[in-house]
């Protein structure tokens, strides 16, 4: 009791000061934050990009463009899903001029939700093959990646392999490794297959894949390749650029790529691409940038930095990529990957493909 009285009456409290400092500091921060306006409406020559393609892959491109033309490029990176939600929420007031993503399905979705604007550009139509851009000109592929078969060179001969469907053959029982069905690349692969072969046949195929799995599905392609190299399984399905990256780091691995379906419709491909947003504030500048991205110099930067294939067929790929050989690619328009993505996800759930 005395203790408490003594304390109350005599001690000089610094907590009041601390509290006041905290309040004033926070108000300053709040004011500072309030006046950091995200983007002015009337701006100097600049473009604002929302990108699901990572910063280290796009920044060199942006820097090169700024150096060449003087246009500033501001950008935000995020995962595709939240990025689309953000564009939807912002609506007319969105500061974004361009949307860049790493999968055709996402671009289809953005177009479907009315977030992208159709543009007419002869340059883009000339440089980009028809199956790698939107039939309604709302988005355009800028680089190509193939999702193909990787195998252990010590255990498998190329003559053992033929098609994606063949991986469900009982001879591969306990020898197949796959990435999770939650990966957007697998969703697109299965979606394209649904378009080509129909739902029933595709579900049968996916079920047979699941039967052949050597172990639980992996979270990413690199783990799939490491498992194939270590002998946990003999074959897998991966994106070509992951293969390229891994082999660049560890050249001694007993891995090689195989191009399936060469006698039928060809290897499944996907795009990383972009579209101009519906309420873009700098539309001419954005279109100009897109056209530049499909030109030779940019194509080299865009594709080579990640070991992808340039979308412009006149431009040769990086020598390391060309070394994997040429292949027949599936010519179905990649927009089908988005259109049938919902069906693909449900089909994989039904087939037990986690």
């Amino acid at each position: 009791m005395y203790h408490l009285q003594h304390r109350l009456l005599t001690r000089h409290f610094s907590f009041t000061k601390l509290f006041l400092q905290f309040v004033s500091f926070f108000s300053l921060v709040g004011l500072f934050g309030l006046f950091t306006i995200a983007s002015p409406v009337f701006a100097k020559e600049e473009i604002i990009v929302y990108s699901a393609r990572n910063e280290q892959l796009i920044k060199p491109l942006f820097d090169a463009y700024t150096k060449e033309t003087g246009t500033q490029i501001k950008f935000i990176t995020d995962k595709e899903g939240p990025l689309l939600e953000r564009l939807k929420a912002e609506g007319e007031q969105t500061p974004a001029d361009l949307l860049i993503t790493v999968d055709a399905g996402n671009l289809w979705r953005a177009a479907q939700d009315g977030l992208l604007k159709p543009i007419t550009s002869k340059v883009l139509q000339e440089n980009i093959p028809a199956h790698l851009r939107d039939p309604e000109n709302r988005w355009f592929g800028l680089s190509v990646r193939a999702r193909t078969i990787v195998y252990n060179t010590k255990k498998v001969r190329p003559s053992d392999l033929s098609t994606y469907e063949d991986l469900g053959n009982p001879k591969w029982k306990g020898r197949l490794c796959l990435r999770t069905s939650k990966s957007v690349y697998n969703k697109s692969l299965v979606a394209m297959m649904i378009h080509e072969h129909g739902e029933a046949k595709t579900e049968q195929m996916v079920k047979s894949w699941v039967n052949n799995l050597a172990t639980d599905v992996f979270a990413d392609d690199v783990q799939v390749m490491q498992a194939v190299a270590a002998g946990q399984c003999d074959v897998g399905i991966v994106n070509t650029y992951y293969f390229g990256r891994l082999m660049a780091k560890q050249p001694g691995l007993p891995l090689a790529l195989f191009w399936p379906d060469q006698k039928n419709s060809g290897v499944h491909v996907n795009i990383s691409g972009a579209g101009v947003t519906r309420y873009a504030k700098h539309e001419p500048a954005a279109i100009q940038f897109l056209e530049w991205l499909s030109s030779e110099k940019a194509q080299n930067l865009f594709a080579d930095s990640n070991m992808e294939y340039p979308v412009n067929p006149k431009i040769p790929p990086d020598p390391r990529v060309a070394a994997w050989g040429s292949f027949k690619q599936n010519l179905i328009n990649v927009s089908k990957a988005g259109e049938l993505q919902g069906e693909a996800v449900k089909l994989m759930d039904r087939a037990g493909y986690r």
Partner: protein, 557 residues
């Protein structure tokens, strides 16, 4: 309300007391405001249940719902048991005994907090899976193609990793409890003829229950909301299903239905936690004389050291060691002058959010102490729900009302003043800090609330009898006693904000990249080894606050 006769003179005038009773008082307003801030994103997400009707929900029911429920429940159970066992045992050893290495292990055991859990997940899988160094070495020694080894990519594996990353919550809070009253409890029970062992289980442990329950509630909410760790293990829980429904099947309503089930589980967890301490009082009367630690000599001392050091090794040293190796490999290629800005952004955001969250937690705790009515209790509970929603879901949920508010302001400015302005809130630091507050208020509140339970009600009454109530009461009496709790809260929020990813990604202004954004850029394209560099920077940044905290919070009075 006290009868008029007992009121002090200045409180007795009729009209002012009537006015005071009629208007909502400032404590109610404050707690309602905070609860409202959290309810807005929650409401946005949950109301989407009605946005469209389709068969996505049915699809989930027919395929994976049962698996989701059982997986989630097993995960919760496993992590609850694991963190309680590890956290409480470590806290007791450190608080009550003295053994070789105790001094530095005291703060070292909190260091795993600075590791993002998905980083630990990736390191563990990288080390312990079939293709990892350990199994590869085993296979080469035994010359076999397949050697039996516990599977890391399994329920047990996820529980293991999440226990290692989350035990510090329980450890910190239980340690505070045991430090301030555990030893005296043992002394008291020993004086009544019980052994130390019995004393622990019958007296010290039950008295520490609100702290442990508080820490456990945080652990369980973080487990439920976790997406990074479970997706690396490819373990299907409610959170991964919400992501699949929303971003894979583009069905907002199905995602909202799953989210509402998640929130239901959270309510149940919190209800159980509340019930477990509702009938007891955990404060102690009398002056707190801190008893000496019991020295553990010889074999027992070394056993204690081995156990604590082993946990520290597995939870911190080994992951950090692996990260350092990877970081060293990419250092030359990736480290550049921008790291200074990443670091300063992370620290600024963490520090500011910590101050903000602690201040608001103090408001909540004071309100519940001063006005213990139903409205306050409900508001306080609601204000702490932000922690339970998965990160990206909450990020979108915060973004939508914020942008809506912005658009209203823009429209208003245009109509009334003819001025065109861009977004005022979204895409600014205000939005980020608001997002962090909504998400981490629960963490700060948990720590401060547990500390406040220690203050006896008789202290309130004593102070009132001296004419002090309301804010002066808080300032002069509570704040000094809550110092330990506040520091714990500040550290937890600081480290959590630095590790946080979805809200940061979504709400950051252009060019405001932080260390966690850097980790995202690398990991989203599978470049885990490059992500080790910003991860190490994160760990090193968390080092100093942890050491500071353990030095000041242990004194708890």
């Amino acid at each position: 309300m006290r009868p008029d006769a007992l009121k002090l003179p200045f409180e007795r005038s009729g009209l002012s007391s009537l006015v005071r009773r009629a208007c909502p008082d400032r404590w109610h307003l404050a707690t309602l405001l905070l609860a409202g801030l959290v309810l807005a994103p929650l409401g946005v997400v949950l109301f989407s249940i009605f946005s469209e009707t389709n068969d996505v929900w049915l699809h989930f029911v027919h395929t994976t719902l049962i698996t989701l429920i059982t997986n989630t429940l097993w995960l919760l159970l496993g992590v609850a048991c694991g963190t309680t066992f590890v956290g409480v045992s470590l806290a007791w050893l450190i608080a009550a005994y003295d053994f070789p290495g105790r001094r530095w292990l005291d703060w070292a055991l909190m260091l795993p907090l600075s590791l993002p859990p998905y980083v630990v997940a990736f390191v563990s899988i990288g080390l312990l899976d079939f293709t990892g160094p350990i199994q590869t070495q085993l296979r080469s020694w035994l010359g076999a193609d397949q050697v039996w080894f516990p599977r890391i990519r399994s329920t047990g594996g996820v529980v293991f990793v999440m226990t290692l990353t989350l035990y510090p919550y329980v450890y910190m809070l239980a340690r505070n409890a045991f430090l301030t009253q555990g030893r005296r409890a043992i002394e008291a029970s020993q004086s009544l003829g019980q052994s130390r062992f019995q004393g622990f289980f019958k007296v010290a442990l039950p008295m520490a229950r609100p702290w442990i329950a508080g820490g456990l509630a945080l652990v369980l909410m973080e487990t439920l909301a976790d997406f990074g760790t479970v997706s690396i293990f490819n373990y299907d829980t409610f959170t991964t299903a919400i992501y699949k429904a929303w971003f894979g099947l583009f069905s907002l309503s199905a995602a909202a239905q799953l989210a509402s089930l998640l929130v239901l589980i959270v309510f149940i967890v919190l209800f159980i936690e509340q019930r477990s301490r509702s009938h007891q009082r955990f404060s102690q009367a009398g002056r707190s004389h801190v008893a000496d630690r019991i020295p553990l000599g010889g074999v027992r001392g070394w056993m204690a050291f081995v156990y604590t050091f082993l946990v520290f090794c597995i939870a911190f040293l080994i992951p950090v060691g692996q990260l350092s190796i990877w970081a060293a490999r990419v250092f030359g290629q990736d480290f550049d002058s921008r790291y200074l800005s990443f670091f300063s952004h992370s620290v600024f955001l963490g520090g500011t959010a910590a101050l903000l969250a602690c201040g608001c937690a103090l408001i909540l705790v004071s309100a519940s102490r001063l006005k213990n009515d139903l409205l306050t209790r409900i508001s306080v509970r609601l204000a702490t729900l932000g922690y339970a929603l998965p990160g990206s879901v909450l990020a979108v949920g915060i973004f939508i009302p914020l942008v809506w508010t912005d658009k209203q302001i823009i429209g208003w400015m245009k109509n009334f003043f003819g001025i065109e302005i861009g977004f005022l809130f979204s895409g600014t630091l205000f939005a980020m800090l608001l997002g962090y507050l909504i998400r981490f208020l629960a963490v700060a509140h948990g720590a401060v609330d547990s500390a406040v339970n220690r203050i006896t009600p008789s202290l309130d009454e004593t102070a009132r009898s001296l004419g002090i109530s309301g804010i002066p009461l808080l300032r002069k009496v509570y704040l000094p006693m809550l110092r330990g709790g506040l520091l714990t809260a500040a550290l937890l929020v600081f480290v959590d904000v630095m590790k946080e990813m979805p809200i940061t990604l979504m709400t950051r202004p252009f060019g405001w990249d932080t260390l966690s954004v850097r980790i995202f850029e690398m990991t989203s394209e599978g470049e885990w080894e490059r992500a080790a560099l910003p991860a190490m920077a994160l760990v090193l940044t968390g080092f100093l606050p942890v050491i500071l905290l353990s030095r000041y919070s242990g004194k708890g009075n």
